[in-house]
Amino acid sequence: MISFLRLFIAFSLRHAARHRGRTIAVVCGIALGAAVFTSVRLAVHASIASFTRSMDFFAGNADRVLVQPGGVLPEETLARFYTHPAVRDYTVLSTTYARKADAAAPPFLLIGIDPLLDRTFREWRLRGREAEAVEGWLDLLREPYTVLLSLPLARELGLAPGARLALEHTRRTADFRVAGLLEPSGLALVEGGRVGIVDIATFQELTGLYGKIDRIDLKFRRGVSAAEIEELARSLPQDLALHPPSAARESGVTMIRAYQLNLSVLSFASLFVGMFLVYSLVALNVAARRKELAILRALGAAPRTLFALFLSEGVLLGTLGWLAAIPLGAVLVRHLLEAVSRTISTLFVRVRVEDLELSAAEIAVSFAVTVVTSLLAAWQPAGEAMRVPPREAMDMVAPEERRRRSARFAALLALGCLAACGALLPLPPAGGVPLAGYLAVLLLFLGFALLSPFLLEHLASGLDGLLARLAGPPARLAGRAVRQGAVRTAVSVGALITAVALFTALVIMVHSFRRTVETWVRQTVSGELFVTAKLGQVNRFRFPIPEDIVEGLRRLDAAFDLVESRRWFLERGHFPYEFEAMGMETFFRHGDFLWLQGDPAAIRPRAARGEGVLVSEVFAARTGLRPGDRFEARIEGSLVDLPILGVVRDYRTDGGIVFYSHAHFRERFHDPRWSGVRFFFREPPADPEAELSRLRRAILERWGDRLDLVGGRELREAVLRIFDETFAVTTVLLLIALAVAALGIATTLTVLVLERSRQLNTILAVGGSPRQIRSMIFWEAAFLVVTGEGAGLACGVLLSGMLIEVINRQSFGWTFLYTVDWPSLGLSLPLIFGAALGAALPAVRAAFRQPPAALLRQR
């Protein structure tokens, strides 16, 4: 071991130190990749940790939680457990979002509990001396409209115990007294510590949810059998569900996991590109030091020692890269954290990340992935080193024929990879994760990378004559150099292919997605003004618009058509979705869905007549239901059983949506309430802005304190802004992958030039001008970049299709209309070309660092 270490230091480390420029370049490339990978994982992990912590504090130490999926429980249900032999303790819990009136502060979570029943379930404690603390929480019971605030929230709102707080909720604004502050533990840490606790009586009086509770938590008697629990579950009304307390957490985490995996794969791309760098450097070291290797072998070094030497180089590069990634990651993760948690909150579940939590497991994973990636990258060249025969110590020429075989062999392998990629695509996802899809993407990259020597050789020989005529001897010489070095340069070209492919694919995907969302927003999110109950959105429309306001809104203005909607958040198995009953007939007069399955002309009138429901693409993908199947759900005690008429695109959330006619829902299920309403101009007015502000004023004057208003244009802009913010993370990842690829080109060319510096200086010595040599290197770079970019573009187009049709469909359930963003590609591909050529400059400079005479003398 010690002798190996000494050999490693003498043979590898000294060499690396001597060529520190290229070593640093490779380490930088890995560092970039590792920093991105680590910070993305940490950011998502922090969001998941914050979410699960919240859910765990909520769950307390309950054994089971009773809920009515999509609805609320009648509080009388509690009485079932007073004397139930299996139940030891029970308690109730309801939550909603409320906000300080007239404040810019965002809403916070208000938790309604029974402080007496809750004592054995959840931890929450008041600050201050014991007697004060007891007084504080007894005040919740004694005095209506008292609240306990978490410390950070009290600070944010500038409130101390005893202060008054006007709290705004859907139904009303109420004047609260702050009865005490909560210690930062248990329930007070939910939602990043932005919580208030009220007595369940106050909760009902504020929200108007009289007689209703969100959930009942149960603790069972010790030693209760599974059969008894089963029996208890069976004895409950059909529309109630008895879950383990972790169910909500698990379904939330499952949703985030898919997102985490997608981001991880994307961020791994930078690391993957970095892998090419390691490969190229180790391969170069092997190639450039064949002589030394042969001598080592001749002196008795075992092949596996040489193998281990180069593997260790890979590991060292990986480790150094990972270490260098730490400061970079520390900066990056702060930016990613906000973006990631915002995306998770928008798409999946509400999270509020208070602070970054460094997960030892995530750090270990990032270290392992970085080092293993580098090790794998070094594997093939290390194997090459192992096979160097001792007799090569005496040879003067490199084995050219082998290279040709290698190029052909690589091309064959490439075809194999591409074929396997094609075969994997139709496979279904594993546990909601498109594993086969990801493997196919990896094979696609590998296939194209392996194809690059073949492409380089053929491009170089194919263009030989043409270039000679156009650009003279330097271009011809460059072509030959590229042909000869095809296998080695292939690695850098492979890196460029990967980066360009990713870039192209993501540009196409994001563009297609955005265009589809734009169309969806224009057609489906149409309307001039959107009105919902106050805090309707954040409270998931649990609190409908009061009926007196509904009546008022109906009679408000004859110039507008109203499309009302009533929304419920439901679950089918563990899949959350939304049911929206909407004024379908009026909606079709002013807007439309983006139809995916079914004949719109035939379905529209049927949907308006309430003959069935329309389901979103995500809903169809996740449930497997198709037009003609029946949709069944229990909504607030009513059993809804309707045929599915068609499938439409919808991008509101990651969950699915089911649409139905509100008029017919009201008739069948007797729910006349509205969650929201949108206003459309009946006829296009002469001055739409004036008309709209007149409507706004009229609503605000009458019900401004009880309704939230947002203009149609603002809403549509907000949707697109959220979309852009979501994909900002993707763009950052993309640019970093490109930067790593450019580093790869710079390293490869420098290496190629340094390797051939004798040859180049000989040309110089025999009369070639420096300009001609620079031109030659330029042409070499051009060959590499054209091949990399051309193949990358082709690979990217294929990849974009896979991302949209396989990865997205399997991960999120949605697809989009395929549109290529030619302007962006047209602008950026030449830029990449320029940047990659720019990366050749250090190589050109390196060529003449030593005087030719000195170089020629060396041998």
Binding site: A79, Y82, L116, E123, L126, A131, L138, P144, E205
Partner: protein
């Protein structure tokens, strides 16, 4: 009167225990708080200032308007085979705010809104197996969680499956927890005894520092004790107290020792000693002697002495309790040595009243006049682990 073996406060252990609870012990306020020292009338609660004019069954029921109230049953039971048990079942009522208080209720109020909280403690001293089992409940008087009902002459107090039903001729008790349960029927052998002056039991130096207090001093008891899946038929005798007040205790009172003894000559003795910070007893300490015919005699504090003979230190809370006593009532010729039947009968009510007190079965032996006498009973010791019950 002498008290020996005064114990340290044990405040540290109470503090630690309370921190284990969620937000500090509610009982520290509900039942055991010096907050009660304020004038109840000024706080809007009803005050006890004179004879209580008990009428039954009306006064078996709760007395809303008074801040605190409890129904308290203890007894010593035995199986056919001679296995001995002590038991306790207590229901507490605590009123959060006086009627017509400043905090008006929203209109309409939630069904959860109430002014009354109920807690309940149940304990079983398995004297033969030398173990003490306990359970507790805490809930509000809403949605049928806890409260009371009256059907005709019958008064029912309930708290999630636990109940006390007071019929005109008998009382039934039921309590069940994971480890034990009991269901008992109690028949009064004597009429209720009104302590103090017609139930007006003074607990301090001013007239409003008092409670309304009556007892059934001897109830013949039979029923079932369930333990470890076995149901054991038991018989024995019980004691019942019902007491309510708004502000009975004075500042400087650190706790009390309460005795209920049923003697073999069919007489009973009840004593309560209000202990002061300075180690002495409050002059309001007093008691009742009930003769075999049910006639009561009030015992002023000067009529009796109680001497602690021995002590027991709780390994759980560190509190040091007296464990045996010598009680002398010269006027009646009573000289008794009272011993606990089981050292550890400490009640640790983390999730309800949040206080620690000792409530346990005792035996007595000695003389009354010239005749030897034996007895059984219950003793309650508060304020040894920091907390301090308002009543008793």
């Amino acid at each position: 009167m002498r008290i020996r073996g005064k114990t340290r406060k044990g405040g540290r252990s109470l503090g630690r225990r309370i921190r284990i609870g969620l937000a500090g012990g509610v009982g520290a306020l509900l039942l055991f708080s010096a907050a009660a020292a304020a004038d109840p009338a000024r706080q809007g609660f009803l005050a006890v200032t004179g004879p209580c004019g008990f009428e039954f069954p009306r006064d078996h029921a709760p007395h809303p308007g008074f801040r605190t109230e409890w129904w308290y049953y203890t007894g010593n039971l035995k199986t056919e085979a001679g296995r001995r048990f002590g038991y306790q079942l207590t229901f507490f009522r605590y009123q959060l705010t006086p009627f017509g208080g400043s905090a008006a209720w929203p209109e309409p109020p939630s069904a959860w809104r109430t002014r009354q909280i109920y807690s309940a403690h149940a304990a079983l001293s398995d004297l033969s197996a030398r173990r003490h089992l306990q359970a507790e409940r805490l809930g509000r008087n809403a949605l049928g969680i806890a409260g009371w009902l009256q059907y005709g002459q019958d008064i029912t107090l309930y708290h999630r499956g636990w109940s006390i039903v007071i019929f005109p001729d008998r009382h039934t008790l039921a309590a069940a927890d994971e480890e034990f349960a009991f269901a008992l029927e109690l028949k009064p052998l004597k009429l209720p005894v009104f302590h103090g002056r017609e139930g007006y039991s003074l607990k301090g130096s001013t007239p409003e520092r008092a409670s309304c207090y009556y007892s059934f001093s001897r109830l013949e008891t039979k029923g079932t004790v369930s333990l470890g899946g076995k149901h054991l038929a038991v018989r024995g005798q019980s004691w019942m107290d019902h007491e309510y007040a708004s502000a009975p205790l004075e500042a400087g009172t650190v706790g009390w020792d309460w005795f209920s003894l049923q003697l073999s000559d069919h007489s009973e003795i009840m004593l309560y000693l209000l202990r002061r910070e300075d180690g002495g007893l409050s002059p309001a300490s007093s008691g009742s002697y009930i003769d075999s015919q049910g006639m009561k005699r009030h015992l002023e504090s000067g009529y009796f002495t109680v001497e602690a003979l021995d002590s027991w230190k709780s390994p759980r809370t560190g509190a040091l309790y007296p464990a045996s006593w010598r009680i002398r009532i010269p006027l009646l010729g009573v000289d008794l040595v009272v011993k606990s039947n089981l050292a550890d009968q400490e009640m640790r009510t983390a999730s309800t009243t949040g206080v620690v007190y000792w409530e346990g079965s005792v035996s007595a032996r000695g003389t009354k006049g010239d005749a030897p006498v034996e007895g059984a009973g219950y003793v309650e010791l508060t304020g040894y682990a920091g907390g301090m019950p308002v009543l008793k």
